[in-house]
């Protein structure tokens, strides 16, 4: 299990060079992703599945004039590569011209951000099983039932173009999440971490927190309505993962976004959120590191999106930037919302009546004009009265504009990396604070526990 994960950076370079040599196209781009994934899953206090696989996929894009097509294969024998290259060329010649195609990039320079942690890359199945067993034993002794998932990834990706781009980047990632439920199914608690570095996964704290949140209290009813809520970082992170998709200039310019200006254009430069809202992306952010280039080989650097509540910029493709005579700006590869100094305890103590939310489920877009989403609370929803958590309450459906949420800020806590994906796989790194917000719309009761 501790063998090298995926192909090495040198292997990827050699493969890319070979493919570009084979190419007869006017231009050619090669994207390779070679990674290993290991996982261990627990349910009903036992390990239900565990496994691993190495997978390498090679994507070849061939271009003739403005005719473009891509072929992806996971076979890297010489014969198979030749067939894949020729197939992408055949498809490209058949494809109608793409008026928005922009030439492949030439030589670029990328920042060197270390995102590969040996602690994660060398994690073995037995270590995963032992970590899982800690939570199983602890849940059993608390009379609860544990369901957990540990997702581990390690690998290297590269981009190369016939015009001279080459970049490769190795990274690791691990997500560990745990849901603990009472045997009668009347209460449920959740905790989880995500990191590049296995050493930053706090297995014992996760077990303690999930089991503590699943206290054997009977849930009580609470009427739906607009509440002051404290969003734990995971809950906020799950929403911000969606919000990232709105940071796009073209949809704004085309009138299809909250960031569209009535009458045309966009709202870059307008103050739309609370002064304390600062959102940026940074591929070198510690333990949320991502690749410093995107699939087309554009460098990704630190970028402010919202600064002191004002829209600093929106992502634009190379085509769209060209139309506007502006510099292109790649979409963010991670998202960081700057934290504040308010502690969770202070947030609770200052709340006369409110609801503490752990995480969400089944988040779906409602209205892109106000960036509104629906979804449900899950695995730890508590009533706060007169500065104290008094009781667990039923879960709720929310229907909420994220714009309004970022305007109605009361308090901001320190930022942490969260497991923001609903399926708890390693995903886009999201670093967000605990947030206290007024007027959050808990629109109907959910009987689910």
């Amino acid at each position: 299990m501790a063998e090298e994960k995926g192909l090495s950076s040198d292997d990827l370079k050699a493969l890319s060079d070979r493919i570009i040599q084979l190419s007869n196209a006017d231009q050619c781009r090669v994207n390779i992703n070679s990674s290993w994934r290991g996982y261990t899953r627990v349910a009903t206090n036992r390990i239900t599945s565990a496994g691993g696989a190495d997978a390498t996929s090679i994507n070849i894009t061939s271009v003739f004039g403005k005719r473009v097509a891509s072929v992806s294969t996971n076979s890297f024998e010489d014969d198979a590569l030749l067939v894949a290259v020729r197939r992408s060329e055949t498809l490209a010649r058949l494809a109608p011209e793409s008026p928005e195609y922009v030439d492949e990039l030439n030589l670029q320079s990328y920042q060197d951000n270390q995102a590969y942690y040996e602690s994660t890359g060398e994690l073995e199945a037995i270590t995963r099983a032992e970590a899982a067993a800690i939570a199983i034993r602890q849940a059993e002794s608390a009379g609860q039932i544990a369901a957990s998932y540990m997702d581990v990834r390690a690998g290297t990706r590269s981009v190369a173009t016939s015009n001279g781009v080459y970049g490769s980047h190795s990274s690791t990632g691990v997500a560990y999440t745990l849901t603990s439920r009472t045997r009668d199914g009347l209460q449920s608690g959740w905790a989880g971490d995500e990191a590049n570095d296995w050493n930053n996964i706090e297995g014992q704290r996760i077990a303690d927190d999930a089991i503590a949140k699943c206290r054997d209290w009977r849930k009580t009813d609470l009427d739906p309505g607009q509440y002051t809520v404290i969003l734990e970082p995971t809950a906020l992170g799950m929403l911000m993962l969606r919000m990232m998709n709105s940071f796009n200039q073209r949809t704004a310019d085309e009138g299809r976004s909250y960031f569209s200006k009535t009458g045309g254009g966009n709202r870059i430069g307008e103050k739309l959120f609370d002064d304390r809202i600062n959102i940026y992306s940074d591929p070198a952010y510690r333990d949320a590191e991502t690749s410093p280039f995107n699939n087309s080989g554009q460098p990704i650097n630190r970028q402010d999106w919202i600064r002191s509540g004002t829209v600093e910029d929106l992502a634009r493709s190379r085509f769209w930037a060209g139309q506007l005579d502006q510099e292109p700006l790649p979409s963010p590869s991670n998202l960081i919302m700057a934290g504040g100094n308010d502690s969770l305890e202070e947030m609770i103590a200052s709340t006369k009546r409110g609801v503490l939310l752990t995480r969400f489920w089944y988040i779906r877009g409602l209205n892109p004009r106000i960036i509104s989403y629906t979804g449900l609370t899950r695995d730890g929803t508590f009533l706060i009265e007169d500065g104290k958590i008094t009781r667990p309450v039923t879960n709720f459906r929310f229907n909420q504009s994220l714009v309004e949420m970022l305007q109605n800020i009361e308090m901001i806590g320190p930022s942490v990396r969260v497991a923001a994906s609903e399926n708890s796989s390693v995903s886009t790194p999201i670093v967000v604070p605990t947030l206290k917000v007024r007027g959050f719309n808990l629109s109907s009761v959910s009987d689910a526990i």
Binding site: V42, A43, T44, R46, I47, T48, S49, A50, G51, G52, A53, T56, S57, V68, A69, S70, V71, S72, N74, S75, R86, S88, L91, A92, R93, L94, A95, P96, E97, S98, A125, E130, A133, I136, A147, D151, T179, R181, W190, E254, R256, S260, T262, G263, W361, Y362, R364, S372, T374, G375, L376, R378, R397, N399, S424, S443, S444, V445, S446, A448
Partner: protein
């Protein structure tokens, strides 16, 4: 406002294609057409490798093992307005093995198809199973299944989508967009065709060897209307369904000639009044109802979910515990019938055998309004056989590709049409004040499948048994058991329609399953409607 469309030069493309074919032939390169380059059927050497994996796993200590060689091919072509935005072909091929040691599973997969790599993979699966069994032992009983030593199945079709030229597909998409863009206020039109072919070879240590080829196809169209002053936009999507069929399905849909009508609906939404929230009678066209079925009947009747195996992600189920609900829980009126059906023609989850070598079948899930059975795999059948009296697996095991460990996935779960052959007009005629919903929209349901909130694409206000006007911003909400018990009238076989999704997600690591749901048009009384604006 539609810009100046660039027409695809059909004849020029065709000449290009002929010239290219000639050039390729002259160069002696084995590339005759746009067919997938990979072998279409598993060879005997691949079968030998798979049997080697099973043998190694057994020798290393597995009391049972199964394995698969799977090649999955995708071809996606997408267009936006009058340009092709995506041409992508994907081919992924590998082998896996699943080993049972004690009561614990271990799984391993590799894309390196050499004898050494395959043997190492099999030993690793056994090592993982052994480690799991030592740390957290458990029990597993596999239901009996007949052995099929040499079986074959292929999705019924007349035209393999991978045999249709890219040029034809591109021309169709550009034509669809062109038709849509003719309509006033339509500014954008996206269309795409995704074709999937799975070639699967399964072997079990009990002696089954099963070859299957599954075909699926997903046409997609999304049309956007923008108001003249730029203050509003509305879309019309989800106009047609994916299917487990060949390209003849696409040709039968008449997409280009229908596009203008869908575009007119998008434009009409700009002018439509916003819905008045409150109680309404609700008529769900099958193009909307199928997804409500998927979420509120399909998912809660997955046995692994009901028993807590998805507690950390996809959730549990309100249809629980089995002993209290099987043959006891009423989920609708007497005329409500649901079946699990892995044999339904055109279904995305239709197959010959499942991923454990269990033959495809049909079985009742809701009979006369009463819940009677779950979806099961071989290890799950034993968990409820004392309540159902059924000891066989219903054949619901599936792993999405060679990298993925198979587990219980949703079959086609379909609602049977009424015995009286009521038409859509009959059902609308039975409604004084209601809303007819067509097409799936935003949808969300809680992790035990109680609280539903579903929108749609097009909403028609029904007054006195007739379509009166279009509405917008509609979503219906409710609690699943009450919602289904509010079912009043269902259409007959002539209104039956198969909706589908390519994106049914479950499991950790997450796996995607394609599944269809058939249903008739249906009328529900006194449903809560909210305004989503």
């Amino acid at each position: 406002m539609t810009g100046s469309p660039l027409h695809l030069p059909h004849d020029v493309s065709r000449r290009d294609f002929i010239r290219l074919s000639a050039a390729v032939a002259a160069a002696g390169i084995l590339l005759p057409s746009t067919k997938p380059v990979a072998a279409q059927t598993m060879t005997s050497s691949e079968c030998e490798l798979l049997l080697l994996a099973i043998d190694v796993a057994r020798s290393a200590g597995a009391q049972y093992a199964d394995g698969r060689i799977i090649r999955t091919q995708f071809e996606a072509i997408g267009a936006r307005e009058q340009m092709i935005t995506q041409v992508q072909s994907t081919d992924s091929f590998g082998i896996n093995v699943r080993a049972l040691v004690g009561g614990s599973w271990g799984f391993s997969a590799t894309q390196v198809l050499t004898r050494d790599a395959v043997a190492a993979m099999a030993r690793e699966a056994v090592a993982i199973a052994t480690a799991n069994n030592e740390v957290a032992p458990s029990e597993t009983v596999l239901a009996q299944v007949d052995v099929f030593p040499d079986a074959d199945w292929i999705t019924p079709h007349t035209v393999d989508p991978f045999d249709v030229s890219l040029e034809d597909k591109a021309a169709l998409l550009l034509r669809i967009n062109e038709e849509a863009l003719r309509v006033n206020n339509i500014r954008f039109s996206n269309s795409s065709i995704l074709s999937v072919k799975e070639e699967r070879l399964l072997a079990t240590s009990e002696g089954s060897v099963i070859r299957q080829t599954l075909l699926r196809i997903n046409p997609s169209i999304n049309i956007t209307a923008i108001s003249p002053d730029g203050s509003d936009f509305q879309t019309r999507g989800a106009v047609v369904e994916p299917a487990g069929r060949g390209y003849e399905y696409i040709r039968g849909l008449e997409l280009a000639s229908s596009a203008e009508g869908w575009a007119e609906e998008a434009a009409m939404k700009l002018e439509a009044p916003s819905v008045e929230p409150g109680k309404w009678d609700l008529i769900l066209h099958p193009s909307n109802l199928w997804l409500t079925i998927h979420e509120s009947i399909g998912h809660p009747t997955e046995l692994d979910r009901a028993l807590g195996f998805e507690a950390n992600y996809a959730g549990t189920s309100f249809i629980y515990p089995p002993e209290d609900v099987i043959n006891k829980l009423r989920l609708g009126p007497e005329f409500l019938q649901f079946v699990g059906n892995r044999t339904e023609f055109g279904g995305c989850a239709t197959t010959g055998w499942d991923d454990e070598g269990v033959p495809a079948e049909i079985w009742p899930i809701i009979e006369d309004g009463l819940f009677v059975d779950y979806q099961t795999t071989r290890e799950q059948a034993d968990w409820i056989s004392q309540y159902t009296g059924i000891t066989r697996s219903h054949g619901c095991s599936y792993g999405q590709n060679w990298e993925s460990m198979p587990f219980q996935r949703m079959p086609n779960v379909s609602m049977l049409p009424g015995e009286n052959d009521l038409s859509e007009d009959d059902v609308i005629g039975n409604t004084d004040r209601g809303i007819l919903v067509e097409g799936r929209g935003s949808y969300s349901i809680d992790q035990q499948r109680y609280n539903i909130q579903f929108a749609g694409q097009v909403f028609w206000e029904i007054r006195n048994g007739r379509k009166y006007r279009m509405l917008r911003d509609v979503a219906y909400v409710g609690r699943t058991p009450e919602f289904w018990n509010a079912l009043d009238t269902i259409g007959g076989p002539s209104t039956y329609y198969l909706g589908a999704s390519f994106g049914d997600a479950k499991g950790q690591p997450i796996q995607v399953n394609a599944v269809s749901h058939g249903c008739p048009i249906s009328l529900f009384r006194d449903i809560d409607i909210i305004n989503t604006a």
